[in-house]
Subunit: 437 residues, 2 copies
Amino acid sequence: MPYDILITNSTILPLADNSISHIDCGYLAIKDDQIAAVGAMSELPADTEATITIDGSGTLTMPGLVNTHNHAAMTLFRGLADDLPLMEWLNNHIFPAEAKFVNHEMVYWCSKLASIEMIRSGTTCVADGYFHEDAAAEAFRDAGIRAVAAQGVVDFPAPGVPDPAGNIAAVEQFIDNWQGKNPLITPAIFCHAPYTCSPETLQKGKELARQRKVPFFIHLAETEFEVQESIKQHGATPTRHLHQLGVLDHNTIAAHCVWLNDEDQQLLADSGTKVASCPGSNMKLASGIAPLAGLAARGVTLSLGTDGCASNNNLDLFEEMDLAGKLQKAKHLDPTLLPAEKILRMATSGGAETLGLEDQIGSLTPGRKADCIILDLKQANLTPFYGAGLLPSAASGHNVLTTIINGQIVMRDRKIVHFNEAETLSRVRELAHKVRV
Amino acid sequence: MPYDILITNSTILPLADNSISHIDCGYLAIKDDQIAAVGAMSELPADTEATITIDGSGTLTMPGLVNTHNHAAMTLFRGLADDLPLMEWLNNHIFPAEAKFVNHEMVYWCSKLASIEMIRSGTTCVADGYFHEDAAAEAFRDAGIRAVAAQGVVDFPAPGVPDPAGNIAAVEQFIDNWQGKNPLITPAIFCHAPYTCSPETLQKGKELARQRKVPFFIHLAETEFEVQESIKQHGATPTRHLHQLGVLDHNTIAAHCVWLNDEDQQLLADSGTKVASCPGSNMKLASGIAPLAGLAARGVTLSLGTDGCASNNNLDLFEEMDLAGKLQKAKHLDPTLLPAEKILRMATSGGAETLGLEDQIGSLTPGRKADCIILDLKQANLTPFYGAGLLPSAASGHNVLTTIINGQIVMRDRKIVHFNEAETLSRVRELAHKVRV
């Protein structure tokens, strides 16, 4: 029985364990939605057949990247208002723009634009949280990108959920709509933050996540201000507050985690809470520098997210890899912190573990889903190539030639082949024209 | 008389003053090596003729970027040894590799590889410092990139200068070889650092720079250790030490400047010394975070450099723009620091001023040299486009379609048209094969 896709003569980087060793001249075979075989070309049987053979000479094949924190639809607000104090940015620019422009149509097209940018830069799985999340899930499905899509919950009127009393019910409906319906889409719940959700809402949300066995996301300890306010209001840091409410467990994904004291870090470690770190967003919004070295030392599962586009201005996870490593080194004046192998793990298997998909994605292992990317090693910025350690600091998402998700070729030789890219760009430009006016 | 090159229907970003306002649908005309005219398409006379017309629909045309600190030949050591303590990295990896592999041939081909990477990522002018700098200057000339090429000076045996007693004479010879000989190449002197050059060497070097009217480069205050050692040895910070030697003036370019106290910053401001900041290198090598906000407030001319490739692992100045701004915001918890317009200026007109080329390059102004780049605004990562403020945080060097230097098209639609790119990549891979073995 022939393979569906066979990549030949490529440098193969399985990232199947903590090592970043590669196979110099190897192959990767895909059958249906799974990785069927990986090995050296010298071990590939001569009579191997495949429906599609990709000559991987001068390329590197690795697992697709996992972006564990995004608000995909916010591509519409890329560069709309930058370099501003956080509250001015939120209250005078982002919140008014969201109130005016966020609807089902906007979320669909702008999440699809985000999918294009992610597919083009090597992300094959994204964790998203927003309102009108049905539209986001439709966009990810249509774009062919794997997604953990989480419906947002806040205790005030939100796009699509005018009465906050119905916010948990809206998530239940969303889970009903998507659970088990599409192999690419995993539904989830996103309780926005400890300061926008009451203790009751947080506990109800977590209870729902447990009942329905879906991931529970929350923004946590993003700014110093948030921590100070939490101590005033609850007599506890946001992390301890969540711990006291019973919200922290191995199925909770906390985004940002910039302001954590030692006890907070230990609470995350002891509870098995996963962390989605967003260095680009934390830098752009001047939130601070997350204690990744400390969390890593405590054994917390770490992953990388871009955050929404407006908080970053791009969705390239290769850039987040570069930022994450360099930022820890610069902060602690220690060049050995977060070495390349740890960074590569955060962006692949660490992301998979964070989303509870560790048995499905995150490495080039036979039996796992066929989510992989092919990089162009013939480019000047990846020459010479002594080993995969250079990827976080040298590679760019633009070095990705081909993106395969769930066994489907979504982009080949930098052409999106799975859907109409131009239509999406055009629809978002029309929406942006209304925003600017 | 027809123009040589006419770019039409492009978004034009002149950066001719401190503004980042753009012309929505404009043109840029080039005659010989100069910008002849810039304006709105509506003002372009109907009978305008040009030898080459580039349809700039869906693009943005801006000044080429100026990289004010590089050791181009070090592309050979990209990713050779990362995530190591500085002294182990230098003494056990970089210095031995340099001692073994740096020669005229290596510097030529590896500087040419660096030129490819820079041209591909929008850099049109580079300040370089290394040994065998004749070979580097030949590479820049052949690649068609503008360069201020500085011959290195240290008080110990160096590649090409086995007897340090001849180090200043070697620079004189280098200046003789290049001054006034090629429109792209400006020769200069690079006294490596206050800790590798004696006071006498520094003063001799500066005297030569003054006599021959060439720029004087030096690494300054890169690490905390350097400052502590200088205080022990000279009773002064490295900056004050240079001040006392009379080395600081408007024609001195100090690279890094990470560890500066208030007095040091004021000495740089009062003397007119220019600063080449290298955030990517300072992060990767864990040197620290430069006080750019303080220097900017004192009116010091700031610019951006990648440093050598091994200290960064890439030469994309768009990434340095992103790092420089985000890093100051994260360090000082202030999102208003180094806004996009200041960052864009650092990478263009600030770079030109730093190198003493402010009358020739740095903005799209008629009469200046035709150094410009054309970016693809049709890419997802630059959609939507509300204004040029998004460039530092959203754009990548890979968004550059076309690079024009001194009126010559060096890259068009991402194809290097000025020389044989494949030959260079191949020659460097051969050299790298020897390094790895």
